[in-house]
């Protein structure tokens, strides 16, 4: 009997669930960087695969929206394709791969290279929303530390890196302080992307489905990556241009090209890469399509990190 009755609401989530998430979102925006607990629901993809982002997107999206979904910066990675198809089928929305055409961008692990604009919403998929979790496993304890604005643990951790390596050895999910008050996990974006969060004109929403937390950074809000006066935060940088489009200044993926240590660096942001490649000669003269081969794997040609 039940077999014939199965049907899903527009946008998948039922209206009551949407209201619950919407109420949580409003508090998240009102308290920038604070993790609002919410009664995370199951969604038709596994936990850890973007269920928080999917719930946030499902709670805000409407037919007037244009959705872009990226994973690792790319629109064509399988999970991005899967989530995009999900919303196309349950929310009947238009989708795009172009950052500037999207009204909502759901992302895993990257912020697009194309600067976000006012009115856009970026939804981050978050695996571990608690920046202090690996330093203090207990929720009851981390909750108290946030209440007391007691973030010494994190500074100690970063300082231990400096003592040991001479610099901070955190390369992604690099902790930030939001609005000068809350320590926040930016999700596992590379520290390269951290500066983009600061005073961004777009609304940034974060959904952690498994951990049942929603948080937000409103537009034009200060987002500082932690650092010390003598050891300030330094995002990773790439010196080489993308091997496909020639763009410089973007985040690159290293692609192994043979079994002799050969590799090349290409844009992680596929939309950015395609558009730079298509643009008539306005990129740098260093543009090249040849693969960069590392002569000796032990001496990489990346001069990453300042």
């Amino acid at each position: 009997m039940t077999a014939d009755l199965i049907g899903y609401n527009v946008g998948y989530l039922d209206e009551q669930t949407k209201r619950m998430i919407r109420r949580a979102l409003l508090k998240a925006v009102a308290i920038p960087g604070f993790q609002v607990p919410f009664a995370s629901r199951e969604v038709p993809m596994p936990r850890g695969w973007g269920t928080g982002g999917v719930q946030v997107t499902a709670a805000i999206i409407g037919e007037q929206d244009v959705l872009k979904v990226i994973d690792q910066g790319a629109d064509d990675t399988t999970n991005a394709v899967s989530i995009r198809n999900f919303f196309r089928s349950v929310a009947h929305v238009e989708t795009t791969t172009r950052t500037d055409e999207a009204t909502i961008i759901q992302t895993r692990h990257r912020i697009p290279e194309t600067p976000l604009a006012e009115g856009q919403v970026i939804v981050y998929q978050v695996p571990m929303p608690e920046p202090l979790r690996f330093l203090e496993p207990r929720e009851t304890e981390t909750r108290r530390l946030h209440a007391l604005e007691e973030y010494g643990l994190m500074f100690v951790k970063l300082y231990e890196d400096i003592a040991r390596f001479g610099h901070i050895a955190k390369t992604y999910d690099y902790p930030v302080l939001v609005g000068g008050r809350y320590l926040m996990a930016p999700s596992p974006i590379p520290s390269f992307d951290n500066p983009k969060m600061h005073m961004n004109p777009a609304l940034q929403l974060f959904g952690a489905g498994r951990e049942k937390r929603i948080y937000a950074v409103p537009p034009f809000t200060s987002v500082e990556s932690l650092g010390f006066e003598d050891f300030p935060f330094e995002p990773q940088r790439f010196d080489d241009p993308c091997a496909i489009c020639g763009a410089t200044g973007g985040y690159l993926d290293e692609v192994i090209t043979d079994d002799a240590g050969g590799s090349m660096f290409v844009c992680s942001d596929t939309d950015h890469c395609e558009r730079t490649a298509a643009a008539p000669n306005d990129t740098t003269s260093t543009a090249t399509t040849s693969t960069t081969t590392r002569p000796n794997p032990a001496t990489p040609n990346t001069k990453a990190i300042a």
């Binding site: 009102a30 920038p32 007037q64 008050r181 409103p218 034009f220």
Partner: protein
């Protein structure tokens, strides 16, 4: 909305298309809260109770349900049609004390002092009240300068609903951050918001950026 004598009135309809209408209204609320002081268009059900108005009806339908508690102030609380309509469409639990409510629906005159509302705790600042303030037909002259998250620099805005009591109350509200209440300013067809992060300063009634400096004597409110 009045039924035959003696029979209970049948509440007026809610959203024509509950899923899509609620989504649009929510985006207006979210945008408003993310861009404090800026006004966003809001469309509500055509035949909502007069005491509530279209805008407040839209926000209520979008945010309230049986999982939340609501306090109705002033004429809203006194209006049987309004309570029946909210009960029928949202199922929200009406509470007698504003301090017990997650949502406080009031007009400027019936708005309880902000300090009496739920402001959350340091560990759970999100467990705080959201005020849905009915600002229809307000004619005050208050103007503020606003700054904080969501505002690029600072901006001026007119607050015809604000009386002299408001600014000191609001200043106290922002001072307890992260605890505090959030304010949704709901007009018939538009919504603006003041989250607890928005800091306000009084300015004169003349529009910001106009050539004439605001005369200090007409300041509607002084900072606490």
């Amino acid at each position: 909305m009045t039924g035959p004598a003696g029979a209970p009135a049948i509440p007026a309809p809610g959203f024509a298309d509950p899923t899509r209408d609620a989504q649009r209204a929510f985006r207006a609320v979210l945008d408003a809260l993310a861009h404090p002081t800026r006004s966003y268009p809001l469309s509500g059900p055509a035949r909502s109770p007069a005491a509530l108005g279209r805008g407040l009806a839209a926000v209520a339908l979008t945010l309230l349900d049986e999982d939340c508690s609501t306090w109705l102030g002033g004429s809203l609380g006194a209006d049987a049609e309004c309570a029946a309509w909210l009960g029928f469409h949202t199922g929200t639990r009406l509470v007698a004390e504003p301090a017990d409510a997650q949502f406080v629906l009031a007009d400027p005159r019936s708005l309880p002092p902000l300090a009496q509302l739920r402001r959350g705790t340091d560990e759970a600042p999100h467990r705080s009240a959201t005020v849905l303030l009915d600002v229809r037909g307000c004619t005050g002259t208050a103007r503020f300068r606003a700054a904080g998250p969501g505002i690029d620099g600072a901006t001026g805005f007119a607050a015809p609903w604000a009386d002299a009591e408001f600014l000191p109350q609001w200043t106290a509200n922002t001072a307890t951050f992260p605890r505090g209440v959030d304010l949704l300013l709901v007009d018939e067809d538009a919504i603006a918001a003041l989250p607890r992060t928005t800091r306000l300063h009084a300015v004169g009634p003349a529009p910001i950026g106009s050539a004439s400096a605001p005369p200090t004597s007409t300041r509607p409110a002084q900072e606490a």
